[in-house]
């Protein structure tokens, strides 16, 4: 037996190769997800630039109408299925095991399979640009009968590839969801009861439960759509006795909850970061944690609000309006809890904090237009107009993507081991915040005036606000440059990060930066208090001083 050297010899840094391999380490998979997602983010963003370029003038003059329809369809599809979901799964992979003190995910190989499906269906979707006839053009909803018209009649066509890719994305997400739910429920550190779990894990548990309930409906609906398209069945074909509205129910039964799958983890990010950068405990931890599950329950019974103008009885409209409005209550609990956390704090306006504050600002705005959209008569006027496009982008870009950027800046030092640059980060925030509001705010007056969404040309009275929106979009396009510059240069030669550069509380901050492959290994600390003990002086785990001293010694030796 040999005596362990103290501090232990640092292992040689593992090479880049593992990021391109079938690796089962959740931290590698997490980075694989995030980098892949940003690759597709650039493609989806480029398509958005073409959309806003076309819409800067009333006439259809930049691209052909068929091309425009294909591009807006692919923009939505790529941004949701190849950017937002993968990037969030990347954060889940990085954060869940380290936050709960697990060595890895419950099913590491399933985890790797779930990730490797992403480039596969991503490739399939990209390949659809090059098949005869072009890609799918029926919008990311793919409502039949437009989506089953198949103008060229080929067996291999853009729409068919689109449906296959979306179904594969569903399979990948279900695999991920099983993994995340199991890991959170079964692999927490000793002493970490559910009510000692960080809120990010609560929201991840809630969001992934939604995936497990909702995705089978979408996948089933998509398979029937593929059969209508390819084999001439008539689940949705009116001339064969099918019902096109039935598809809308399958689609929205999942796709409304999908918005909560996206926004719940972002609520989790806000709940993690506001305490760190206000130096105060999260206000009303238990209520914030439980509100996630109330949102899950309500989120499953609101989908018909997407279909108010498509022929729904008045009593159903009223019912689904009431359930939709009730979601404002648990959401309000969270917003007020964040304000309570900020109140009387010692705020540090770092890049992640700025992104959180900007995201909260945009989210509250989106919540208010959401209530307007829930009320049936107003919805009848603005549904399928730019008002909805504006609302949606305030939620997804204004709140969710800003929250994701906050998370990336906050946890980058932990998982890469180097510090991102504050100056570039703040520039990125400024461009994003101004660009997003300039881009998405004008969509609201346009919708109120009656400009339908998905149009490749429009009446001249809509020109002014469209020009403003396009300029905002181009600014948003530019905003990604300081981000990419920051990430690349920090990764290559940024200053080395200590184990806890933000002075944050959480199990992940008791690991070296970057953490070793098995995280805590055999020495999982025992959790003795709730998270977010800022200012209380209570340690989070047993022997916390000792663990921190050992990490500092390691850092001094390195």
């Amino acid at each position: 037996m040999t005596i362990a050297t103290f501090p232990p010899e640092p292992k040689p840094e593992p090479g880049w190769g593992r990021y391109f391999s079938f690796c089962t380490d959740a931290k590698v998979i997490g980075i694989q997800y995030i980098v892949t997602a940003f690759f597709f983010f650039l493609i989806g963003g480029l398509l958005a630039m073409v959309i806003r370029g076309e819409l800067i003038t009333p006439e259809s003059d930049l691209v052909d109408r068929a091309v425009y329809n294909g591009i807006y369809t692919m923009h939505g599809t790529i941004m949701l299925f190849l950017f937002t979901f993968p990037v969030l799964n990347g954060l889940n992979n990085l954060l869940i095991p380290t936050m709960i003190g697990a060595p890895d995910m419950a099913f590491p190989r399933l985890n790797a399979v779930a990730f490797w499906l992403v480039p596969i269906f991503g490739f399939l979707l990209m390949a659809s640009f090059f098949v005869p006839g072009g890609p799918a053009y029926s919008g990311w909803w793919s409502y039949p009968p437009v989506s089953i018209q198949n103008p060229l009649g080929n067996l291999i066509n853009g729409q068919g590839m689109w449906i296959t890719a979306v179904a594969l994305s569903g399979v990948s997400s279900i695999m991920g969801a099983i993994n995340f739910v199991t890991t959170i429920l079964r692999m927490r550190a000793p002493g970490m009861t559910l009510f000692r779990m960080p809120v990010f894990c609560w929201t991840a548990l809630a969001a992934q439960s939604l995936q497990l309930i909702g995705l089978p409906a979408l996948t089933g609906g998509a398979i029937m759509l593929l059969m209508d398209l390819t084999f001439g069945t008539s689940f949705y074909r009116p001339e064969g006795g099918g019902d096109p509205v039935l598809y809308q129910h399958f689609f929205w039964f999942y796709s409304h909850p999908a918005v909560y799958v996206i926004i719940l983890p972002v609520f989790g990010i806000f709940s993690e970061l506001f305490p760190v950068y206000s130096r105060k405990p999260l206000f009303g931890y238990v209520y914030v944690a439980l509100a996630s599950f109330i949102i899950v329950g309500l989120g499953l019974i609101v989908w018909v609000h997407h279909m108010f103008p498509s022929g729904v009885a008045q009593w159903m409209r009223n019912l689904f309006m009431v359930t939709t409005m009730l979601i404002a209550v648990p959401t309000g609990v969270k917003v007020f809890a964040w304000l309570g956390t900020l109140w009387g704090g010692k705020l540090r306006l770092t890049t992640p904090m700025l992104f959180c504050l900007g995201g909260l600002f945009n989210f509250v705005f989106a919540g208010i237009t959401g209530i307007m959209l829930a009320t049936v008569p107003v919805d009848i006027h603005v549904s399928n107009t730019y008002f909805v496009v504006g609302h949606f982008h305030y939620v997804i870009y204004g709140a969710a993507v800003m929250g994701i950027f906050a998370a990336i800046y906050h946890w980058f030092p932990k998982f890469i081991g180097r510090m991102p640059y504050e100056g570039l980060g703040k520039l990125h925030f400024l461009l994003t915040f101004v660009g997003a509001n300039l881009n998405f705010l004008p969509m609201h007056p346009l919708g109120l005036m009656g400009m339908p969404r998905r149009v490749s040309s429009y009446d001249p009275e809509f020109t002014f606000w469209n020009v403003v929106a396009s300029l905002g979009a181009f600014l948003l396009g530019v905003s990604i440059i300081p981000f990419l510059l920051n990430m690349l240069s920090a990764w290559i030669r940024g200053p080395k990060a200590t184990h806890n550069p933000w002075n944050a509380i959480g199990l992940e901050w008791l690991l070296p930066s970057p953490p070793p492959e098995d995280n805590f290994g055999e020495d999982v600390p025992t959790v003795i208090s709730r998270p977010y003990g800022y200012g209380t002086g209570q340690p989070l785990v047993e022997h916390q001083d000792e663990i921190e001293r050992r990490l500092e010694l390691q850092e001094a030796a390195a």
């Binding site: 206000s278 130096r279 238990v286 022929g311 409209r317 705020l347 209530i371 307007m372 002075n503 200012g535």
Partner: protein, 312 residues
């Protein structure tokens, strides 16, 4: 902080807060009034109901938004850490009384809005825009209209990829420009020959999807003379954006005269921008990504125009 100093700063704080809440109420009220200006002219009985509800929601929403943003601005201005201050703030872990308050107030607020909306929807239903859905019956279509339980005028709206056709069975007239008499209830029977379309007249604040395989009855009463736009609001394929039509609301006499004149006009091809654009497109050596060819323009008595100046 001692209790005496807490008490001494309370009075100005309460006064300041009250003044600020008063200012927010004034701004919210002003925004509520502004909201009417963001909407198109009101040209149907439905429009005032929708607009009043929207204005009310704008006022409430402005108040909530300002409230949240005020707190954010306050903490960003006055609760910043000093430059080299690494210490934590005073820990406050929660307050059950506050939680109850900020659960109850939004609950009451949204339920109040929901109650108002249900009442407004009922009123809208009795005024007009309420749809009846029939499984489409071809026999009924061929045999014309039964004529019972109908308002004064019935218009059949046929949506296609990509044109709108309007038939006035009472007068044996068809057109690709919609003509309506002011202040007279009209029932549209919405049918689609191919895919989903959306029957949307922003000035009327009404929208109804047109679903293939169904005939949907839909009532409206126009209240203002003028020219408005009918826009397809449910994505219907390549020329979706061009699938628009003019809606002419005229006096009862003018409308009658138009119907009589139209009934004597010979049938001719109606308006379809898609047909002409498709011809140009197919003439190119590489027509580009695939599209469904447009349906031929409907044969109508009055093609009308789709480029006259419109009010909304």
């Amino acid at each position: 902080m001692t209790s005496s100093s807490t008490r001494s700063i309370n009075t100005p704080a309460v006064v300041g807060l009250s003044v600020w809440v008063g200012v927010m109420v004034l701004i919210s009220n002003w925004m509520g009034q502004q909201a009417h200006r963001w909407l198109p002219v009101q040209a149907s009985t439905a429009a005032p109901l929708v607009d009043d509800l929207f204005s009310f929601e704008t006022a409430i929403g402005t108040f909530v938004f300002l409230g949240v943003v005020s707190v954010m601005a306050w903490v960003m201005l006055f609760n910043r850490a000093e430059k080299y201050d690494d210490s934590d703030a005073v820990p406050i872990e929660g307050n059950t009384k506050l939680e109850v308050i900020w659960t109850a107030i939004p609950f009451v607020l949204v339920m109040g809005i929901a109650f108002w909306t249900i009442r407004a929807s009922e009123e809208l239903g009795t005024l007009g825009p309420m749809e009846h859905i029939h499984p489409r019956n071809p026999v009924e279509e061929v045999g014309g209209y039964t004529g019972d339980r109908l308002p004064k005028e019935q218009v059949e709206v046929i949506a296609r990829q990509w044109s709108w056709e309007f038939r006035y069975p009472g007068s044996n007239v068809s057109s690709t420009e919609l003509h309506l008499a002011v202040d007279q209830p009209v029932t549209f029977r919405l049918v689609s020959e191919d895919v989903l379309h959306g029957f949307y007249i922003p000035a009327f604040r009404v929208k109804q999807d047109v679903v293939p395989g169904r005939a949907i009855d839909f009532n409206v009463t126009p209240t203002r003379e003028g020219v408005y736009r009918l826009r397809d609001s449910q994505f219907s394929g390549t020329w979706f954006a061009a699938n628009q039509s003019d809606v002419v609301v005229e006096s009862a006499e003018e409308h009658q005269a138009w119907l009589e004149q139209a009934s004597r006009a010979p049938l001719q091809p109606g308006l379809s921008r898609a047909v002409s654009e498709y011809a140009t497109r197919q003439a190119r050596s590489n027509p580009g990504w695939a599209t469904v060819p447009p349906a031929p323009p409907p044969q109508v008595n009055v093609p009308g125009s789709s480029s006259q100046p419109h009010q909304a």
